[in-house]
């Protein structure tokens, strides 16, 4: 009788279990990536220099919404040193549309064709002998614009008509999605509730802004008709063919060579516009072209702004504090295009009810386009927002019902014996011990001591506050989340594969090579893979080398994102090593004249169990395997070589129900965190000081605790930035007011406290070694803890904080408006 009647949880495919006997997994090994990065020898895309390479610069629209009436490039073309100038209309003849995961798609090209839809949109491109001259040429391009009405208010966007509609081909409205979903008995649960807590919550638009921008170095070989591009993008292995299609060449004719990226946090998930533009320019110019976004390019146009939402949210509870149901209406301002569809909402539905036992959930999602830069993927991909909404409601409920906020959480937290837990949308939480995480966080934060200090401080007229947030961190997305909320009539490309692939080989000297189909973003792929290989083969990390396949050699890799890479690549590695170890055993068995089933791996050797001298080194076996075919039986399993490829699919996913009364299992490897923030607030200036901060995370079995700690710490810093300091501010004309690092306030070391980090490990029953992803880290929980701490500090003013960011001026506004304001 429940909406989850036909829901099922597949059996675990786990092959490697966690346990105490692991040598490399669980070690805080120094990173393999570091020495070259430290020595200044890391090769980022801007370090790539090709012979005869030219440089591109892009002219960007100064207007938020306008028709392009004419572009005169004659003066720019005539400037000495300029190789070519191309307008968006010309690019339209040469390239197809950029990928859009929306259904129906929102059409976009690498440059605006006849209309600009946000300040900063590309209008024309110049290729010149150097970037300086290219920018001189930009100054000489004359564009005539016919201004169109600007839409920047998301709630007004849905009713905009006529010339204010950004994509008239798609429909007469700026509303690109308006649908409601119910999972479970939402209406009944609200009807029977004793208390309904309501809040209007705003989540401001911030963005990843990694220190390295997006760039491409491309060349076109007229002889082979093939593009080669160095780029700091992900997805070249999985959907690079879409860029090839846009370039009107077969998928085999675009080779993307990944360069290490100076940070991404989602913003380089699919750097397709930059890649398409640069390849096109290289072909047109007849020479290699480098296009590096500068910071202005990136802030205005990197298609990587974060969620920008207004929620009207309600939580239904019994008067004893038991949570019953959650529902909200959300308006999301996607900016001018919709590259990932409404995926940031599907994603959020994986954990929207938080770590609490809530039986039903409903939402109405209204997505609009406006004259701003489009959203992309930003650390959390929309789930960090619903975490915030949930925690604001929980704190509001505690205040309204007179409960202690920690006790209210404890009362509703899912219990250890309830896993795997099916939450209302059909996703599951695979394992967890939320009580242990909470207890550890409170202890690390010296919670009781701070409560006592807070009481003293209040007597002294100081405003000290404590915020506790208990939040989920889902990991390992399944691609169903990208389309499962699309209308049933137009699901779009309903893909069900998002694997990770790897190739592993052992060379004649016994060295192990693994090639990844995914890029380095500042995560630690080489280190993690080295640790798993070392564990599997019992070799030293120095015998292992990791490389990155280009898109010619790469296969079935979705790469980092959604905190999935460590889990997925480990799965692929285990498949690969299982196969290779079987062959090694077979070969060694023959060489040792022993039964292969009696063999074990120890210290880089294959030997007979219980017989210490009877062993061969992996190098010995590898030499034989590669060069001495005739020393082995003439059957296929002894064929030359020790190499394999492996593809690992998502270990636990099921399709959404056909009628979508549930969405199946799509993001089940569920991490969890508790953040405790202690702040002091100056109510007269709105300034915040951190007095203490603790963050305890459970990401299942840790492969490398210190690198996981790095994500927790870095994510927390980003979360503090999101909560207090960062927002892209557009004015009523669609002008971005803070388009520089001087005015977009990324926190420095002075704004980020020392965070006490703690770990709990409840392994996943479904992944290899029980690992869960933790890359999105502290950003999923910090905003909730920080905002609550500030709200708690200002309790005497009886204010409620229902949005981020809360810069000092905003805090001061709230205090000033409070009837209890002292000054």
């Amino acid at each position: 009788m429940s909406h989850l009647d036909n829901h099922y949880i597949p059996a675990s495919k786990q092959r490697e279990t966690p346990g105490p006997g692991l040598n490399w997994i669980g070690k805080s090994m120094k990173r393999v990536e570091d020495p070259r990065l430290l020595a200044g020898k890391g090769r980022y895309v801007d370090d790539v220099v090709l012979p005869n390479m030219a440089h591109a610069a892009v002219l960007r629209s100064p207007h938020a919404h306008a028709r392009i009436k004419s572009i005169d490039v004659s003066k720019a073309e005539a400037l000495p040193g300029v190789a070519l100038v191309m307008t968006g209309a010309q690019a339209f003849e040469l390239t197809g549309p950029i990928a859009s995961f929306a259904s129906p798609p929102v059409v976009q090209y690498c440059m605006a064709v006849d209309r600009v839809r946000h300040v900063g949109e590309a209008v024309a491109a110049v290729v010149a002998e150097d970037r300086y001259v290219a920018e001189d040429a930009l100054d000489l391009i004359e564009v005539e614009y016919e201004l169109l009405p600007v839409t920047v208010d998301p709630e007004a966007a849905a009713t905009a008509t006529g010339e204010a509609v950004l994509h008239p081909d798609r429909g007469p409205t700026n509303c690109v999605f308006d649908n409601s979903f119910k999972f479970g008995t939402v209406d009944e649960d609200f009807a029977k509730a004793d208390v309904v807590v309501k809040r209007r919550i705003k989540w401001g638009r911030s963005g990843a802004q990694p220190l390295e921008t997006c760039g491409t170095v491309a060349e076109f070989d007229e002889g082979t008709g093939k593009y080669t591009a160095y780029a700091n993008s992900n997805f070249y292995a999985a959907i690079g063919f879409i860029v090839a299609g846009a370039l009107k060449v077969p998928a085999t004719h675009l080779k993307v060579i990944p360069t290490i990226a100076g940070g991404s946090f989602g913003s380089k998930l699919f750097n397709h516009k930059n890649l398409t533009l640069t390849c096109m320019l290289a072909r047109a110019a007849g020479q290699p072209v480098k296009y590096m976004e500068d910071r202005l390019d990136n802030i205005l146009n990197a298609d990587a702004h974060g969620s920008d939402r207004i929620y009207d949210a309600e939580l239904a509870l019994r008067k004893d504090g038991t949570m019953l149901s959650l529902r909200f209406t959300v308006v999301d301002d996607y900016g001018a295009y919709l590259q990932y569809g409404i995926g940031t909402h599907g994603n959020a539905l994986s954990q929207v009810t938080g770590p609490y036992r809530i039986g039903s959930f409903g939402m109405r999602l209204i997505a609009v386009v406006t004259n701003k830069c489009q959203q992309g993927a930003y650390r959390g991909f929309g789930s960090e927002v619903t975490n915030f909404v949930m925690e604001r409601l929980v704190d509001a409920a505690a205040d309204q019902l007179g409960f202690d906020p920690v006790e209210l959480r404890r009362k509703n937290l899912i219990l250890p014996h309830e896993f795997p837990y099916v939450m209302p949308t059909g996703n599951i939480y695979d394992s967890g011990n939320y009580q242990a995480v909470l207890a550890k966080a409170l202890e690390l934060a010296s919670y009781d001591r701070w409560k006592a200090k807070q009481a003293e401080a209040r007597k002294e007229g100081r405003y000290v506050g404590i915020g506790v947030a208990t939040c989920q961190e889902r990991s390992v997305y399944s691609p169903t989340e990208w389309w499962s909320l699309n209308p049933l009539e137009t699901p779009g490309f309903a893909l069900t594969s998002a694997p990770e692939g790897v190739s592993v080989r052992i060379d004649p000297t016994g060295k192990i090579f693994a090639q990844l189909n995914a890029p380095f973003w500042g995560n630690s792929p080489e280190t993690v893979v080295t640790q798993v290989l070392a564990e599997q083969f019992t070799v030293d990390p120095s015998d292992i080398t990791i490389g990155y396949a280009d898109s010619d050699a790469a296969f079935n890799g979705f790469g980092p994102g959604g905190s999935r890479f460590t889990v997925m690549v480990t799965g692929a590695i285990v498949t690969a090593t299982t196969r290779l170890k079987a062959k090694l055993r077979k070969l060694a068995g023959h060489m040792l004249e022993a039964d292969e089933n009696d063999l074990e791996f120890r210290n880089g050797k294959v030997g007979v169990k219980g017989a210490p001298g009877l062993e061969k080194s992996i190098a010995d076996v590898a030499l034989m395997a590669n060069f001495f075919r005739m020393s082995f039986p003439d059957t296929p399993e002894f064929d030359s070589g020790l190499e394999t490829t492996a593809v690992y699919d998502h270990p636990l996913t099921t399709p959404p129900a056909e009628d979508r009364r549930h969405l199946g299992i799509f993001y089940p490897i569920m991490g969890h965190m508790c953040h405790v923030a202690v702040v002091e607030v100056d109510p007269l200036t709105g300034k915040i000081d951190f007095l203490d901060y603790a963050a305890v995370h459970d990401a299942g079995t840790m492969v490398n605790p210190i690198t996981l700690g790095g994500h927790i710490m870095g994510g927390t810093a980003m979360g503090i930035g999101t909560a207090v300091y960062e927002e892209f501010r557009y004015d009523e004309n669609g002008q971005l007011l803070n388009a520089s690092f001087a005015d977009y306030h990324i926190p420095t070391a002075h704004e980020i406290p020392k965070v006490k980090i703690g770990h709990i490990e409840t392994p996943s029953p479904y992944t290899e070694y029980g690992i869960k992803g933790g890359g999105e880290g502290g950003r999923m929980g910090a905003p909730s803890a920080v905002v609550r701490a500030v709200e708690d500090a200002l309790k005497p003013f009886k204010i409620s904080i229902d949005g981020v960011p809360i810069p000092p001026s905003k805090i001061r506004d709230l205090v000033r408006a409070s009837p209890a304001a002292a000054a």
Binding site: R131, N738, P807
Partner: protein, 287 residues
């Protein structure tokens, strides 16, 4: 973000620099620290035709006491002034404000005089010059004049300096022993330009305020003295009441519509609060 083309001159003497400025007054810009000018050039918001690089004119790199004044040369870098015991003694207000100015590498190259000529309304040092009633020495190849601080700062990025003039030195009356001083600033991040900054000095005799200067940055198109606050303080008894009144008087006289990071209401709040706090610090130090 690459700058537009320009010509470049590196004069070997002050006289040569002044001569070049005279000849090219219409499109020349002095390059000292460059920490404010070069970002604007990289954004192509500034496009000088000629940069006159004065960084080799070591004769301008000094700060010392001359009679009653602390004199600071055009090439004195922020870093040197910030760590100078001489500055701390003669102009403690400047030393304190320097705790809020920018970051290490910026201070290593940036100069006080360059900062004053740039005249960013949110910059701290113009307020310090106003509160200490400093004098700016402007030289051209044909003239030398001394301009009091309160005539120097005209508007956003606009000063009394003529295009052919070089600010060669500032002269700040050394702080008398009995004078108290206070500096308060709120910025979004430490080292950012001020949202609002208040610099104040107080002289107290026989339990009454006999002299006060109050100056603010971040309150409009230029740093300014706050005469309304100063008037409220004259002959008042130092204490919370007087300082609070001075803060209110300052707010009443201001219309702080400025900048994207804070609205007028917030700036007024900051002026009120920071004025009172700066004065309170100053009173404590005046004792």
């Amino acid at each position: 973000m690459k700058p537009a083309s320009f010509e470049y001159a590196r004069p070997q003497s002050v006289a040569e620099a002044l001569s070049v400025l005279s000849a090219r007054a219409s499109d020349a810009k002095v390059l000292a620290g460059g920490q404010s000018l070069v970002p604007m050039m990289n954004f192509r918001m500034a496009r000088p035709g000629l940069l006159v690089d004065i960084n080799r004119l070591e004769e301008l790199n000094y700060h010392r006491i001359e009679g009653p004044d602390l004199v600071i040369g055009a090439l004195a870098r922020h870093a040197a002034l910030r760590s100078s015991t001489l500055v701390r003694a003669a102009c403690p207000l400047m030393a304190e404000a320097y705790q809020h100015v920018a970051h290490g590498p910026i201070r290593n190259r940036g100069t006080l005089c360059g900062n004053l000529c740039h005249a960013d309304p949110a910059s701290e040092m113009p307020a310090i010059l106003l509160a200490t009633e400093g004098v700016l020495v402007l030289k051209s190849s044909s003239s030398e004049r001394r301009v009091p601080a309160d005539e120097f700062f005209r508007s956003t990025y606009e000063t009394a300096a003529r295009p052919d003039e070089l600010l060669t030195e500032v002269r700040i009356p050394a702080a008398p022993d009995q004078q108290g001083w206070g500096f308060q600033e709120v910025s979004v991040r430490k080292g950012d330009f001020a949202l609002v900054g208040i610099a104040a000095t107080l002289k107290v005799e026989n339990g009454k305020i006999v002299g006060a200067t109050v100056a603010a940055c971040g309150v409009g198109e230029r740093a300014r003295r706050l005469p309304a606050a100063e008037a409220a303080l004259t002959r008042a008894i130092p204490g919370k009441g007087a300082f609070s009144e001075a803060g209110e008087a300052a707010v009443a006289a201001l219309d702080p519509h400025f900048g994207v990071h804070a609205d007028a209401a917030y700036r007024r709040d900051l002026v009120r609060t920071l004025t009172a706090r700066a004065l309170s610090d100053a009173a404590e130090r005046a004792a």
